[in-house]
Amino acid sequence: MTENAIEMENLTKKFGDFTAVDKLSLNIKKGKIFGFLGPNGAGKSTTIRMLCTLSNPTSGSAKIAGYDLIKDPSKVRENIGLVAEKMIMYDTLTAAENLRFFGKLYRIPKQKLEDRIDEMLELVNMQEWKHTQIDKFSTGMKQRINVIRALLPEPEIIFMDEPTLGLDPQTTYSIRDITREINRSGVTVILTTHAMIEAEVLSDRVAIIDHGKIAALDTPQNLKKLIAESDVSIFGAEITNLTPKLIEKINSLDVVDAVAQQDDHNLKISANGTEALNQIIDIIRHEDGNIASITKSNETTLEDVFLAVTGKEIRDQATGKAASTPHMDGEAPKSRIR
């Protein structure tokens, strides 16, 4: 067996004229947690769907758990678990009935399946809900069942597409704990997330994806170091009379790579060169902007890396230069809606 859980080679997916995933080549080591970070429409989910055999690649190839995606899809399916963006559960079935149904599709022997269901319910502390219908559950409880459903057949690799999207903080923490626990037991975890902090605290390695391509790939620590050692600086600016026009002006500066609006008054600006700060202050003053504070943090966050690498912020109010590309903010092409 190879050292790699996943090997992708020039993996490409096109929907008509739109290239969702563009010649992605990437190896993911066994037993690691690997994070895909990227703005909406960057191609994260499409990549995961291809790796789960739910979507046929337009070109390129991949090996999952040593099996070829195209030639041996059913072997691939035996070795993976999927926690998709939409929860894979039937509302009118009980937790046990849901788990039992999917367990049977993986041909887990009857007694082993029952033991495994109890074991998994214990893992997420939901034994007493075993015989309750899913539609009586809170979102957090549903997601916990959703995760253990994917773990039931003891897959080598588990794919988690935005596992904490829309969850309250408490459940988010517990899902992260479960993820770490799964990983400790030897399962490779492939994670996509919109939450920087999640990628940062969970992942061994992170790939920042933009326009279907890898924009950066390293450990979270190394990625941050990359920014700290380059001449790219990330400034925080608090301007009391912030206007869209002012943001546009700042963005038009040559030294500025990207501007992200964080709230009514605060901006994050990614810029390079030693003269950057002076130029930024000049333009704000020239436009009658009232600067309340300018900060330059010494500790780079993954969010800063993201802003510098993709030119936009992960949250949806991105105003970076790259964000003007139409397919980024608009709806995904029709064929992608499932």
Partner: protein, 400 residues
Amino acid sequence: MDIIQILQDSYHVMIKDMIEFKRNRFEVAGLIAFPLIFLLLFGFIFPSGNTHENVQMGLVNLDQGAGSNEFITQMETMNKQLATTKNSSYMSFNNYSSVDAAKTAINKGTINGAFVIPPGFSSNVTSGQPGNVIVIVDNSNPTVAGTIEQVSSSTIGGLNGISANTNVLKLGSEANQQINPQAIIAPYVQNIETTIPGESNYFNFLAPGLIVMIGMMYIMNGVPETISKEKEKGTFDGMLSAPIHHISIILGKTMGLTIRGVVQCLFVLIFAVLLFGVTVQGNLLLVFFMIILGIFSFIGIGIMAVSLAEDQATAAMIMDFIMFPMIFLAGVIFPVQQMPWFMQDISKVIPLTYAGDAMRKIMLLNANVADVSTDIIILLAFGVITMLIALPLFRRGMKD
């Protein structure tokens, strides 16, 4: 892939679908209510036999002679004889003084038609000339107009018979001969016999076809519904990413649907027998077999629609597009013989035509397998061919 494995996996999918169905009270209620509503609706829209009652007729007597009075008296006598029950009558007569008044009443809708006895009627009759009676019909309503034409022609015919009878007897006694007037007036008599015992009624015609039609509607709506629902909820990905053959998914789902469809067909049969007096002459096992075969022949079309459509709304639209012509052209509700030739041709390519035809023959005429073998072969072929087209389409449609 191992066939047994596929069947096992589809069994799990079917059981899962059945639990989901059982928990949905509306779907369970619909399974029983839908056939009942259909039977009631069609049963009462299309009345069985000629049970017209109280057709409102105007009567304009411009003659007022002995002849016209006799005519009217005899017409009233006949009217009572034609009445279905004691208290009702076939027609109700309202007197009007002029043709215009009667026409106005027709236009207002107070009467459906009018008999006009023109002046000189009595003298014509006594002088041996024909006694003309004018019947005015409301031709804005062709159905009622047709009925009145029938009613009046049978009335006039009956009256002619009575007066011919009297005349022949009179002539006979004048010539001093013993005559049977009927042998002269109507030497030919038709006696109608039926292949089905008892009275023929519309339910007997409707029920067999309706059983398979409701089964068809259940399957053709059900297949797109059950697949699209899972696609849209995202649960489909769970099954597709499991190590099962994709055919097991569609197989399991159609097995569950077929069982529910057959149950619904049996409800139609039970209601038709218990509530609407339909009698089953044929073999019940053969009836049951035809229900399953009928449903089987529609599954392929259902899968095709769901494979071609992107979402449930589109799939439902495609289904309606296919289903409506089937409902009306398959001869389930209206006999095919009533239709113009090109529609009769269309009805020949609709599987429901054969399923309904075979059901009717089995249920009403006690036909055996050999009698309906053509229908069975056509339905089997249709089911297999559509399925062979649909399954690859389905597999291709599953991946984006």
